[in-house]
Subunit: 148 residues, 2 copies
DNA sequence: GAGTAAAGATTATCCGGATAACTGTTCTCC
DNA sequence: GGAGAACAGTTATCCGGATAATCTTTACTC
């Protein structure tokens, strides 16, 4: 690949990353959340109570990041941690009632974010783009240097 | 847009953002750089000495981020800042000889990163994907809440 | 069963990047 | 030409996310 093309690709990804996150941040702020928290909450909603290790895998980030986020969500009253019955090392995280109440608004924000992200794209373009993004994500995930 | 689709889109973008950055970080580390620095160096190489405001615009991030990165690049000896001749507020940043020497290896790393990112994609798929990413980036840039 | 390896979680410390607040300079307009 | 708005930059402080190291508990192996 020539440099111009490579730069265009890397720059586009960087720009999308920064802007999508900024947009997410401004929308999530309405719910008192920071970007990253939504992933944890949605994962808990989708797959029920689970350990932080599982959460890390689902959220696509490292355990220490989960520890911190979960602690903040816990002090915010959205989540609770209890020691796992069968393993004293593990802690099972689950949504509190207050956390569950936040899920519906959160889902709406999540949809609005996606819609704004692809605003101006027609149906086919979105489908094509989504396909490409998922391939890209899959490829990067596979050859990532990360532990997960 | 339904939730499933929205989630797929948001998650893919988040995953790509994290992984691409992680991949970049591991490659840039070979040159002693952190992600973000390369954007500044490449901008200086592409468009010559410029103020930090211009750098912020080119790098797609906020002035305070540029201040810190430029200071680190300066202490690393890759960049130097001189007061602008016509404006005592502004500081013009330029590459040092040592910084210029890093450009070629950096460009190679940048190309390698892009190649690894789209590994497995054929020529047409890359072109299509790049087009979609640039549209996405443009749209997000346009409706961003950021100052730039 | 004892001793070592592996795993879950946490802490500390680094980084980029954001906003808010502040400093100092330039511009504008009366 | 003097007052106030606008602007370049910096600092302080927040956040997510990463790695490395540590602690505790479980699992494996002899």
């Amino acid at each position: 690949m020539d440099f111009t093309r490579a730069d265009a690709l890397n720059t586009a990804i960087r720009t999308i990353a920064i802007r999508h996150r900024a947009l997410a941040a401004s929308m999530l702020a309405e719910l008192g959340l920071h970007p990253g928290h939504e992933v944890v909450l949605l994962a808990l909603d989708a797959h029920g109570p689970q350990t932080q290790k599982q959460l890390a895998a689902e959220a696509g980030c490292e355990p220490p990041s989960i520890t911190v986020m979960v602690r903040k969500l816990e002090t915010a009253g959205l989540v609770e941690r209890v020691a796992a019955a069968d393993d004293a090392r593990a802690r099972v995280v689950s949504l509190t009632g207050q956390g569950r109440e936040l899920i519906e608004p959160l889902r709406r924000v999540w949809v609005r974010l996606a819609e704004e992200t692809v605003e101006g794209f027609d149906e086919d373009a979105v489908r094509e783009l989504l396909g490409g993004l998922e391939l890209l994500a899959g490829g990067l995930r596979a050859r990532g240097r990360l532990r997960l």
